[in-house]
Assembly symmetry: C2
Homo-oligomer: 211 residues x 2
């Protein structure tokens, strides 16, 4: 298909398609005899994945590129792929302090997760502690401990979801990437809904008390 049809089928403008190709997020189309560029269904699928990662997933172009490279590397075992995808997503603009890294590792120790002190999420959590410290809000640092059990239950669902796709390596890789990125967005959305739900339950209860 020509670029106009690719644009129509994915709802991505031709200028954006060209930008993604220049940035290496999308392979170039095939040059045909009439000096036109032809795109395949594989381009449609890849463009939808790019849009999911950048748009709803909120990744930077650089992070999306690393996620796609991990998916495309057929020699990479799925376990290592999870690590590569996590490193890409966890890129922190400012490296966290040693003190906060130590605090996160102590928290992992308390929850029996001490076999994971070297994973990319440690830097993300440590950066959160750094920001809380700068804001004088160390009182909120306990969020890590308070969230831990609930997040473990989420991670168990995630791994079960990935294992369900075995032994199809390409599909598992896609599940890891899509599940990681869109899963974060889904959890953020659900958290907002659940917060509103809890507030409204409180309000209903206090209205009931007053009545």
């Amino acid at each position: 298909m020509r670029i106009a049809e690719l644009s129509r089928r994915t709802d991505v403008s031709t200028a954006t398609i060209k930008y993604y190709t220049r940035e290496g997020l999308l392979p170039a189309g095939e040059r045909s005899a009439h000096n036109q560029t032809a795109y395949s269904d594989a381009h449609v699928a890849r463009l939808r994945l790019v849009r999911a990662l950048l748009g709803t997933g909120g990744l930077s172009v650089a992070a999306a590129k690393q996620v796609l490279a991990a998916i495309d590397d057929d020699d990479l075992p799925v376990g290592s792929m999870l690590g590569r995808v996590q490193s890409a997503i966890a890129q922190s603009p400012v490296p966290p302090s040693e003190a906060s890294i130590a605090a996160v590792r102590a928290m992992l120790e308390r929850h029996g997760w001490s076999n994971c002190g070297d994973t990319p999420g440690v830097a993300t959590c440590a950066a959160v502690l750094d920001r809380l410290g700068e804001l004088g809000r160390d009182d909120l640092a306990g969020m890590l401990d308070r969230y831990a059990d609930s997040v473990l239950a989420i991670a168990e669902h995630d791994i079960a979801m990935t294992v369900a796709d075995a032994p199809d390596r390409t599909r598992m890789a896609e599940t890891v990437a899509v599940g990681s990125v869109l899963g974060d967005a889904a959890i953020a959305g659900l958290r907002q809904i659940a917060q509103a739900h809890v507030v409204r339950l409180h309000e209903e209860r206090s209205e009931g008390d007053r009545a």
Copy 2:
């Protein structure tokens, strides 16, 4: 203090400070007699908050501006502030389809959260379902149902954290904003660590079986 000291104390470059001021994220300093600009401790605090929202929190400049406006609006009740902060964070580049919004509302119904079908998180979750549908991965849509109970437990911690700051309105507003944005980052980081933990437990178990 002069801009150089503000830059030193916050580790934000003077060019970035000027950019934030132009964008309305940071109030301008006071013009002093000698045609110099003077900044206060309030500027230090605000700049740290901006950095937390944009950097570790990953918000866009436009979203951060709306979050700050909600914090600064002293007439806004804290319940409405939560809604304003949520709308700012949830901005989706592409509006979700009606079908996905209906699917999210049906999910809320199943979990007894149907009093929240009009909250900003619904659009975020619906956008995730749209992306999964486009990718031909509707099999992953069940993540919303599977995550719901764990996320409710997280939201209960969040609201308890906010209520702990009552009746100091400014502090509660900051807790809502910081807790929403940095909380999402903390949960994403913890989820990565927990996924690695679950994978390593599986590996240890299968090694144990082989031994």
